[in-house]
Symmetry: none
Subunit: 190 residues, 4 copies
DNA sequence: AATGAATGAGGTTTCATTCAT
DNA sequence: TATGAATGAAACCTCATTCAT
């Protein structure tokens, strides 16, 4: 009658199981996901959750960091070492990649960046930093005009971020993408 | 210990008191505000709240409609009847007005448009409709280029909407405003 | 702009309007009916209700008294003055009449006699008194056996009262009626 | 002011404590009992209640099942294997047992079978099924007459069920019991 | 006599977090 | 490290009754 003794895992492995369970659920249900759901999905006791994540928001922070790393790794910025970079193409490619990435992770985006949780943290810094880095690099290469990199990056990211949500809301994907490309190209044109 | 005597108002007046109390609190505390808080601020019993707003979301809907009307009334779109319209100036003026308007209503914007409530409703339609109307009118007047009005309006509004939040987050107001004006002008240029 | 001034009625008439409105609703919705519903149906203000019925239970008491009178008037007990009475037939006729009467007033019966309200009052006295009177009279006439009138009446009424509820619950009306007639005849047989 | 330390029990045990606390209170106060009362009596937090009973009606369902099982176990129906059964005696014994059982559980009976809760469920099936089984068996044994078992069982149970309520209401227990026995014997006589 | 806005105690239910085991 | 029973502060909502007009 002994119930299956819970296998002991290295802390990192157990933590990862919980995070991945959370990601699966957030993907589908957005900010409606509760601790209860995550522990059931992860096959872990409730107390265990709080062993690894003192609060619910700590879990969301972890999910966010993983999300950011994943994108950064999958879509690294080019460097000049391999020759000159076509910055306008880079920015359009990154925007396109972001739309696909976010579209495939709808609920997570909502839970992390468009929920009450987002209000408690300050978000999206990373994306904005990347974007302003690109803008600066493009400017140095003479490919972009003299816009103010920081604020422009922030506003452009807001537009980019809206694109997948518009698509999810039923807008035509191609039309949104085209409009976004135009917006980016024109705003940054020399 | 004397409890204030029951004040009898016309329904419209009492309803307004509740809405205004809610607006004051939302301004400061965003989506953290609860029914309990509103009734205390308004000086009414809990039951009175539900007399006027069957659910909490009904109150938020009302606040949103008031907000939209207020902006539309304060910043009406010009018409051609009084002579030709300078559409680029109009769009910049509207964007600037929006920033000031939203900056003065920080928490409300968060509670209505960037919270879990926003997820339950579909929002911001009005702003996007206004914007695409302006774009179309400008295109007919030859002042704007051949962008796709609907999707462009949606993306531009996302950028405009981000501006007051950036300012609230500590960014330099003038720099943000300048970047936004550049973004708008260039995107819509003929 | 003057709203139609509420016509003044003689107190009895106004009271009657409320009671009749309540009866209509109770018929259909049983004990789920609320003060709110009754005043809407009666076209009367809420305060007016409490002018005539200090508490909700007072209304139910009134409805009950009317119900009892209505049945008693429609189905009077025969007297010996016009000649000998066939008591077994009387009791069966009364039982049959009760089933029809109660079946046509399902919800009222539930709200008055099978709800929490019934617990607060002591009910069904009248029906039991009538029944025991019939039993006694029948015994004097030699038509019924030597059962104890009071307790027997109470138990028989429980059976009679169950009949319309069984019919409402889907049982075959004829079968129930036949079973009830058998039960009554045999129990009271000399 | 020291609050009692958290007691950890096996779910079955804790669930039982809650049910038994509810039964004690229902016994005395009938359908006036609320969740609040039960958790106080059981010495648990409100949340604990809903851990075991998602809704209040689920608790009442549990209490009902326990009640039914308890009676069925304490008063099993005889079978023919041990020789012929005296069905008239059985039915009178069961009726007597029911009266004692129900009299000792007044409030529970009210809350479960004569309240608004009873309206939401369909009740008393078990008792009626038992009774009609007895009638059928008695008929096969030639001990009962040719009444229609189902409807008769339903009406007879209504009479039986009324007996403890009559006793609780002040009627003489012996008189009620005698009247009930007569009613049963005569109705079912061959 | 009549109104209907206002009350507030009371009810069920949720869920992040705690803690005895 | 792991468990999962237990907590309790909110949250939303209902409705008989009150009372200023």
């Amino acid at each position: 009658m002994a119930k299956p003794p819970r296998r002991r895992l290295r802390p990192e492995a157990r933590r990862l199981e919980i995070v991945e369970a959370a990601e699966r659920l957030l993907q589908v249900h957005g900010s409606r996901v509760r601790v209860e759901d995550v522990v059931r999905e992860a096959g872990v006791a409730k107390g265990t959750f709080f062993l690894y994540f003192p609060t619910w928001d700590d879990l969301l922070d972890t999910v966010r960091q993983r999300l950011v790393s994943e994108f950064d790794t999958a879509h690294p910025l080019p460097t000049e070492v391999d020759g000159p970079v076509d910055w306008p193409s880079v920015i359009e490619a990154q925007a396109g990649a972001f739309i696909d990435f976010a579209s495939a992770r709808q609920g997570i985006g909502q839970a992390l960046f468009h929920s009450d949780f987002a209000e408690r943290r300050t978000m999206a810094d990373n994306a904005i930093l990347r974007l302003s880095a690109i803008i600066r690099a493009g400017q140095e290469a003479g490919a972009f005009g003299p816009v103010d990199p920081e604020p422009t990056a922030r506003l452009l990211f807001a537009a980019i971020d809206e694109a997948p949500r518009a698509v999810a809301g039923g807008e035509d994907r191609a039309a949104i993408l085209a409009a976004l490309q135009t917006l980016l190209r024109r705003t940054l044109a020399p």
